[in-house]
């Protein structure tokens, strides 16, 4: 949205032949699939929409107080001082869903088409001008609509449309399906560290009056995660007695029986959190992956006719837990690059490189470069990670090996036999179970109801498991089917096949589009593709 808005601004400033601009959004309405904690650093907003207050930007609360706690199962220890990267003075607690809705309103007011319910499923390529060059990105193809669950066309069938563009800005979010295929096709991640991800599970609650004054920002480390597990929780207080509560768990855990959703329930039962939520009511639930890897995991973000911005490229500061301002800033840079390139008639790779130059010379690099190895340090445990994070304040990120070596998170998951040795658990068991009372704690299926997720039922499954025979045999034996645990929406289930064996059942319509399965599957055989346009969660207020 920032890119689109920026282009509209440039057009107004510079005049000339107006550019045809389109924004493609897979959700039914802008913001519906957007989820985040969130605490916004307004630096990019101030530049993009200087009169944002007058324009009614939905900034729910000014941050009044920052607290960091270390939790054990029963106790809490508050950090006496807040480290600088966790200080949020001058920032705002927002609902990202509302914020994007607002931005989309500004974009549409500029006359730019925002096509909601139109996911793009494929990148279009043109052969290059010279034989030796890589292909040019020519646009995208939108998804077919009106296909039944067996792949047959229904009477309402509408084929996908090829949308050709001189420049395509890819902002399809964390583990975006288009960016994933673009990076693969053009080898954009060559020489880069593999991306590291986490899953954030979040709920919105309405609690009895007087619990927390709006503007409180609380972050925790420790319980319910083990020291070998990366992550932590957040709790933000919004106006009208609304609380945003969530747990971020690194998708590089070793224990194949780890269940982020169960961990989240444990978190809610901790006295620090339970005392705030008690007597309240859940309003909404959701989950999304986060790109945590930092600077060295960002691929080459440009190609002939293409630019990659925001979470799709991995522009997130995992130490400050902030990415919205970086998404906006890189969106703006992409817009400026695209605008100049199109006006000059040159959208070659060389012209697109201007985007990377902008990023390199900007606050984006100044912010991300010093923390470029912090996430990787956490792979040695949370103490090491925290120590390194602290150290990097002084050393500006220096380390003996730079970049710090890292591996894809999905490679770190250990086999059952190796992790549990002789105490091998039943794959269907819940390690560390928690009491589900459906007041404070919920089972996945109940939670999914509160995500508002809805898909056309009669369509092919959008979770493509390339070899489902692995599930009941090799995966069950080696890892105990971690998909049934890492999916926060009960999409994957191992059910009785009727002959004594199990088989994988995919409840695709529960999917909340978090991308965890695409990321974390130990065999890397799951591909998330966009379902029929408009389907997905309804993250109002998230």
């Amino acid at each position: 949205m920032s890119a689109a808005l920026r282009i509209a601004q440039l057009q107004k400033e510079r005049g000339g032949e107006p550019l045809a601009i389109a924004v493609l959004e897979k959700a039914r309405e802008a913001g519906a699939h957007m989820l985040s904690g969130a605490v916004l650093d307004p630096s990019a907003l101030v530049d993009l929409v200087p009169d944002f207050k007058a324009k009614g930007a939905p900034l729910a609360a000014d941050v009044r107080r920052d607290d960091i706690y270390f939790l054990t199962r029963t106790a809490k220890f508050r950090l006496p001082i807040t480290p600088p990267f966790f200080q949020n003075h001058g920032n705002y607690i927002i609902s990202l869903n509302r914020f994007v809705k607002w931005l989309a309103g500004l974009v549409e007011a500029e006359g730019i088409d925002v096509f909601t319910g139109f996911p793009a499923t494929e990148v279009l390529f043109d052969p290059p001008a010279d034989a030796g060059q890589p292909a040019r990105v020519a646009g995208v193809r939108t998804g077919d609509r009106g296909v039944d669950r067996h792949g047959r066309r229904k009477s309402t069938f509408e084929p996908g449309v090829d949308i050709r563009a001189k420049v395509t800005i890819f902002a399809d979010g964390v583990r975006g399906n288009l960016t994933k295929s673009l990076v693969r096709q053009l080898g954009l991640d060559e020489g880069r560290s593999p991306q590291a991800y986490a899953i954030g599970i979040k709920e919105l609650w309405e609690v009895p009056a007087g619990r927390l004054v709006a503007g409180r920002v609380v972050h925790t480390m420790g319980y319910p995660l083990k020291t070998e597990e990366f992550g932590g929780a957040f709790m933000y207080s919004l106006p009208d007695n609304v609380i945003s509560i969530g747990l971020v768990s690194g998708l590089d855990y070793r224990d194949p029986m780890f269940d982020p959703h169960i961990a989240f329930q444990h978190l809610k039962r901790h006295p620090l959190i339970a005392s705030v939520l008690e007597g309240g009511q859940i309003i909404r639930y959701g989950a999304k992956a986060l790109p945590e890897g930092g600077w060295y995991t960002i691929p080459k973000t440009y190609a002939a006719g293409a630019l990659i911005a925001g979470d799709a490229a991995g522009f997130m500061n995992s130490v400050r837990l902030k990415g919205i301002h970086l998404a906006m800033r890189t969106g703006m840079f992409a817009a400026e690059t695209a605008f100049d390139a199109i006006r000059r008639g040159d959208t070659s790779e060389a012209a697109m490189k201007a985007y990377d130059d902008k990023v390199q010379g900007s606050s984006v690099r100044r912010e991300l470069y010093p923390v470029r190895n912090v996430h990787q340090a956490f792979s040695h445990g949370s103490l090491a990670g925290a120590a390194f994070a602290g150290l990097s304040l002084l050393t500006r990120g220096w380390w003996f090996t730079d970049p710090m070596p890292s591996h894809g998170g999905w490679t770190r998951i250990r086999k059952l036999a190796e992790y549990y040795k002789d105490a091998r658990p039943d794959p269907d068991a819940t390690m560390n179970p928690v009491r589900i009372d459906r007041q404070l704690t919920f089972d996945r299926l109940t939670n999914v109801h509160y995500s508002g997720t809805r898909h056309v039922e009669d369509q092919p499954s959008h979770l493509i498991v390339h070899d489902a025979t692995v599930c009941a045999t090799r995966c069950r034996e080696e890892y105990g089917n971690p998909c049934i645990r890492f999916c926060p929406a009960n999409v994957y289930e191992m059910v009785d096949a009727g002959d004594g064996t199990k088989k994988l059942q995919i409840n695709a319509s529960n999917c909340v589009h978090c991308k965890t399965c695409d990321i974390m599957d130990p065999y890397q055989i799951i591909d998330w593709v966009p379902p029929e346009g408009g389907g997905g969660p309804q993250y109002d207020g998230m």
Partner: protein
């Protein structure tokens, strides 16, 4: 005075009319019943059993068969002549077809689909039954009552038959613009469970497709439709149009029997409006018991056959 508009077809009184009379008796005050059509002796006889001041008969060939225009023309005159404070009707397909036009014609408000009488108004469901609204209404008005909101057997009978009188109504048949053909029955493509009075629904607890037979037998014994929670339809054991829940149909029957259904919220939202809910599930902690009126924490494969036997016994 409350005027109740009774409904009949092919010489048979619609039971909902008795419910509406019960509603009027509950609301209190003098009560008259009007019936429209042609040749309604049997129906009038049944209505006369009610504890009411009078049965008004509007007998005119122009009113048979039913047309919206015909009924509006006739009832408009009845309302002007009798000037009832309130007019009660059953919320049937036929009433829905003419009552709003009648209310507009006589310029009185109409409150539809009421489930209870309140001081100064009525209660009615909104947002597909997720919420209820108490509606306050001013002055003389009309109200339609949801089928089953009042019980037909709650209607009080009179000590002696109510007197019947032919109403002096003239209908200009040329003003009737609808030309209806004879009604016919058709097997619907998709089952409309929302019309079923009783439903037996199965969930994962039924274990396999073969075991559906036992649920089918129970449904038959109860005069109920068979339905299912999502996993059963996903597995293809029952067609999709039998699914109850957020991705299926929402129903509010008189009786809903949930066999082996855990009660995930996606299912509950589709059926918790049912009048009486029975749950049979092995797991005493299953959420379905939270919305059930009657629950048996037991093995449905033992309980259901015993129920079928009991049902057959009593009807024998």
């Amino acid at each position: 005075m409350i005027l109740v508009v009774a409904e009949h077809r092919d010489g048979a009184l619609n039971r909902a009319s008795l419910e509406t009379i019960a509603a009027a008796q509950h609301a209190g005050g003098p009560l008259k019943i009007v019936v429209l059509g042609s040749g309604m002796e049997t129906v009038v006889g049944q209505l006369a059993a009610a504890d009411a001041a009078e049965i008004l008969i509007v007998d005119d060939p122009a009113l048979e068969p039913y047309t919206a225009d015909g009924f509006v023309l006739a009832l408009e005159q009845v309302i002007r002549a009798e000037n009832p404070e309130r007019v009660f009707l059953p919320h049937t397909y036929q009433t829905r077809d003419f009552a709003p036009a009648l209310a507009a014609r006589v310029q009185r408000p109409l409150v539809t689909d009421c489930i209870a009488v309140r001081d100064g108004g009525y209660a009615r469901p909104v947002f597909q039954g997720k919420l209820h609204a108490d509606v306050a209404v001013d002055g003389p008005h009309l109200a339609t009552f949801q089928i089953g909101a009042f019980r037909a057997d709650a209607m009080k009978s009179g000590a002696s038959p109510a007197p019947a009188r032919k109403a002096a109504i003239a209908i200009d048949a040329s003003r009737i613009r609808q030309k209806p053909e004879a009604p016919f029955k058709e097997a619907r493509q998709a089952v409309d469970l929302s019309q079923a009075e009783r439903i037996v629904a199965v969930g994962r607890g039924i274990k396999s497709q073969e075991h559906l037979a036992i649920a089918q037998q129970l449904a038959q014994a109860m005069g109920a439709e068979l339905a299912a929670s999502r996993p059963i339809c996903d597995a293809g054991w029952l067609p999709m149009d039998r699914q109850i829940g957020s991705s299926g149909q929402t129903v509010a029957p008189k009786l809903y029997v949930a066999l082996g259904i855990s009660g995930a919220i996606q299912h509950l939202v589709g059926m918790k409006g049912a009048r009486t809910i029975v749950a049979i599930n092995k797991d005493a902690e299953a959420p379905i018991f939270e919305v059930a009126d009657y629950g048996i924490a037991g093995d449905l494969f033992e309980v259901v056959p015993a129920m079928i036997a009991e049902l057959h016994k009593s009807t024998a």
